[in-house]
């Protein structure tokens, strides 16, 4: 039985729905010897900003039950070094790549997106949801506010023809409101979730474990939250969703697809098993064969819900 794994995200055709999440796979090249990168659906690169960013004070990570906190703070080499040193490798790949970008203003987002479009990039992920940087003094990050979400996406949409994936924060009251704002502004797809804001304390020194005090939680611990948010977003928008948050194996990935994800992102699992994403592709295929599903698209959002009281 021929099995079709291909999915479409905006103008991007992906050979399979398994992506690697931003910040967990570098710029691809780092995993060259460890993973057959060309087998992935796509790579989402570490978030870049216009200017280089040094990142936050160490310690930057802490392990928590079934998860990890990070407060990297978007350390990156900046757009020009990215274009000079990282882009050529990504272009040699026989798989799609999506460049994750962030800015402090909507204008920075569109300037960066335009610069990348000029360099031949086809798709961007708008990271409007990093919990580890202050986008605007004392204010929430863009994705915690529907109007700001709309404004950033709209600005990039107006100034480029790129495929736009908007990455949403789970640290919100109502994800469907934010998802709708991004869709209305012209986002081609949404990815969620970014990390959940959290912290951990050393009780003998009474100090936070992270240098930045708070950080973003990822890994298996966040999966139920991520899954719930995918389902809520699926019920409120029509654009495809890239589901992520705690996916460790194929069964996790299939839960996301059933709950409405058109594609899924592997994050923290890469650190534990660099080949996790390839194993997940194999596992999805196996599940489809066993369940006589020819096309992965026909699995998306097939959750059979009991009626709630």
């Amino acid at each position: 039985m021929g099995i079709s794994l291909s999915v479409k995200i905006g103008k991007l055709s992906l050979k399979n729905p398994v992506l690697v999440a931003s910040g967990t796979f570098g710029y691809g090249e780092e995993y060259k010897g460890l993973v057959d990168i060309n087998k992935l659906g796509a790579i989402i690169t570490k978030t870049i900003t216009l200017k280089p960013k040094a990142g936050n004070k160490p310690p930057r990570i802490a392990e928590t039950p079934q998860g990890m906190l990070n407060s990297i703070g978007l350390e990156n080499c900046g757009s020009e070094t990215f274009i000079k040193e990282k882009l050529s490798f990504l272009k040699t790949l026989k798989t799609a790549f999506i460049v994750s970008i962030a800015g402090y203003t909507k204008e920075e987002f569109s300037k960066l997106a335009k610069r990348l479009e000029d360099e031949g990039v086809k798709a961007v992920e708008l990271n409007i949801s990093c919990p580890n940087i202050e986008y605007r003094k004392g204010k929430l990050n863009f994705s915690q506010d529907a109007k700001s979400t709309y404004a950033v996406v709209r600005q990039v949409k107006k100034s480029t023809r790129l495929t736009i994936i908007t990455k949403l924060s789970p640290n919100v009251t109502d994800i469907s409101e934010i998802a709708k704002a991004a869709e209305e502004a012209g986002s081609d797809a949404l990815s969620l979730i970014n990390t959940l804001l959290g912290m951990a304390v050393n009780i003998s020194t009474r100090t936070p474990l992270l240098g930045n005090i708070t950080g973003g939680l990822s890994g298996p611990a966040v999966k139920p939250v991520a899954l719930r948010m995918i389902w809520e977003a699926y019920n409120s928008v029509k654009i495809p969703l890239v589901g992520m948050g705690g996916i460790m194996d194929a069964s996790d990935a299939i839960e996301f697809i059933i709950s409405g994800a058109a594609a899924i992102g592997i994050g923290t699992a890469n650190f534990i098993n660099p080949e996790a994403s390839l194993e997940i592709i194999g596992g999805i295929k196996k599940y489809m064969k066993e369940n006589k599903i020819k096309n992965v698209k026909s699995l998306i959002g097939t959750l059979k819900c009991p009626t709630r009281n």
Binding site: G26, Q66, E75, E275
Partner: protein, 278 residues
Amino acid sequence: MKKAKIKILSNYSLKKPYHKLSAYSDYISKLAKPGQFVHIKCSDNNTPLLRRPFSIYSVSKEKGTFEILYEVLGEGTKLLSQKKRENFLDIIGPIGSGFSYNVPFANSHLPILVAGGIGVAPLVFLAERLAKSKIPACQGKAAGRKNQKSKILVLIGTKTKSLILCKHEFKKLGCDVKIATEDGSLGFRGIVTDLLRKELITHNSSLITGIYSCGPRPMLQEVSKIAKQHKIKCQVSLEELIACGVGVCLGCAVNTKSGYKLVCKDGPVFNSDEIIWG
């Protein structure tokens, strides 16, 4: 660097709380350099979630094996200590930059290795490679004892005598080993950095080819300060929590004079004058 599931040859307790594990890996035994580490998945599930880093303590190219020496601290090392001969070990390695020691040095020259506790692990491997780099007196008994001055000086510090590791391994390699215990149960009474200070009074620092050190961060900071005062080049092996081990998560950052560097990719060994200890 590769990821592999390899077979355990042996894994046993040396003395509480230390264990030694040997495993088969032709690849690591041939490629590993002193100071590099392997990243081990200690659990078979998500608890603990992340891999744990361990310095390579010795390799045997003939047998195609390598060893690590580890202290049982928390859940990860506890699970590691329960693994048995013939069990499989999920590793990524060898990782990191390692010590640079290839500078050819004259017979009279003296490298000093300073270890705190389990910090001996990478230094045994280093001492072995240094001993092989043709300093006659460092080749142990076989080479005779003509040039006593050219020994490798090893300083090991622990809280008490029973926690001292690898004294005999270093001696077998022809090293001059001195011990510091905080309770004075063996050797110098006090901390290893005070022993280092004392040794530097009797040795001509212009002959010292370098200080190589591994141990807790406060100790390394002090070693680095002493090295600077004596104008001796010094390399330290630093620890931070390491998630990916391949340089993508940017989690194991240390602050240096040229910005944040990664323990897993740029280190774990750094020139001590590069580090902003803060």
